[in-house]
Amino acid sequence: MSASYDEELLARLSQADPAAGVVVDPVTSPQARQLLERTMQTLDQTSPSTAPSPAPRRLGGVVRRPALLAAAAGLVLVLGIGAALSDRPDAPAPRPGTTLALQVAGGLSMSSCLPFDVAVLAQMPVALAGTVTEVEAGQVTLQVDRWYRGGDAMRVTVSQPDAASSVALDGVSFEQGKRFLLTATEGTVNGCGFSGPYSDELAASYEQAFAR
């Protein structure tokens, strides 16, 4: 007998493939897009000890495993507003004086918002407060007045890829002189209430989330 096993048996076994004829979700389906987007918005830096818990159950009633739940719940960020902190999520923090380039994702984002939670906010690897100093088509520059986490650049640019329109965050336009609180993950500015115009309430949440 050759190295390949029983050809006839293999052929018969192939015919017994339980997935033959089973229609699976195409990668272009809304479900797939949502799952992929959720995956890409997952924090890399999260260690098990920092994973939020308990995690909510998914619809359907079947008991889900904790690891996935953690992913589906707390670790997953919100709304695909993208920021190019760098191509590598674990890239070192920028040096003082340099500009940190962030992006707001353009186009369609299938991801949905998580309810705002300080525990989730605390997972964000990049958090800062800054005031808009310049507004151009598709890009704004902010002067950072405080780094809560993940950098020490003096300026941050936020741009919207493939869009000449004005940059907006959750529908809020970056206006000159306006102060914002921003968090970012994977080069992505997080929306859904995890970033936004400066307010005492949001600032208090930042204080709580990023307290050392």
């Binding site: 029983d6 048996l9 293999l10 017994a16 979700d25 990668v27 995956t39 997952t42 495993r65």
Partner: protein, 178 residues
């Protein structure tokens, strides 16, 4: 956002085959859960994915995620329920393959996986080696032996009395842990 693009590219290659891989082994709800885990691992380990063997490598991730899932289920004392949902002989397979599915279910786990990877995922031994983390030569030899054991199981009607989990006396080889 090069990383996102790379992940999208990978997903377009592996997303559908991974679903089939999982659906061949567990029920739909578990498959869906594990798929999420697999994607998460692929996203985190994007830099490690071998460009020339992305799919077998992803199957390897799926295999480990699935094993974790089943272990977790066991811990939660749901083993019986979980095993009951493993597709031993799905209805669409029909009567014609019932004996084959039973014989397959009676084999040691590693044999079963080798045979499935070959017959269902249509992988060559060198690709199976990527999934299992062994050498192509070892994959080839093990596949050959697994085929012989399946043939024997079919001939002796094994599996008709045994539940999933295989022959009680069949010892797992040391490398079966891989």
């Amino acid at each position: 956002m090069r990383r996102r693009r790379a992940f999208e590219d990978l997903a377009s290659t592996v997303y559908e085959p991974l679903q089939r891989y999982l659906l061949r082994r567990v029920d739909e709800a578990t498959a869906q859960d594990v798929l999420g885990d697999v994607l998460l691992v692929l996203w985190r380990r994007l830099a490690d994915v071998p460009p020339d063997a992305a799919l077998p490598w992803s199957y390897g991730v799926a295999r480990r995620c699935l094993a974790n899932s089943l272990r977790a289920a066991e811990r939660q004392d749901q083993l019986v329920r979980k095993l009951a949902t493993v597709r031993a002989a799905p209805p669409e397979a029909g009567e014609a393959f019932a004996d084959l599915h039973l014989a397959l279910a009676a084999l040691p786990a590693q044999d079963r996986e080798l045979l499935r990877l070959s017959a269902w995922e249509q992988l060559a031994p060198r690709e199976i080696a990527v999934v299992l983390g062994c050498t192509p030569n070892a994959a080839s030899i093990r596949l050959h032996r697994a085929g012989k054991r399946l043939r024997r199981a079919l001939e002796t009607g094994a599996g008709k009395d045994a539940g999933p989990g295989g022959h009680p006396g069949k010892r797992q080889r040391r490398e079966a842990a891989r």
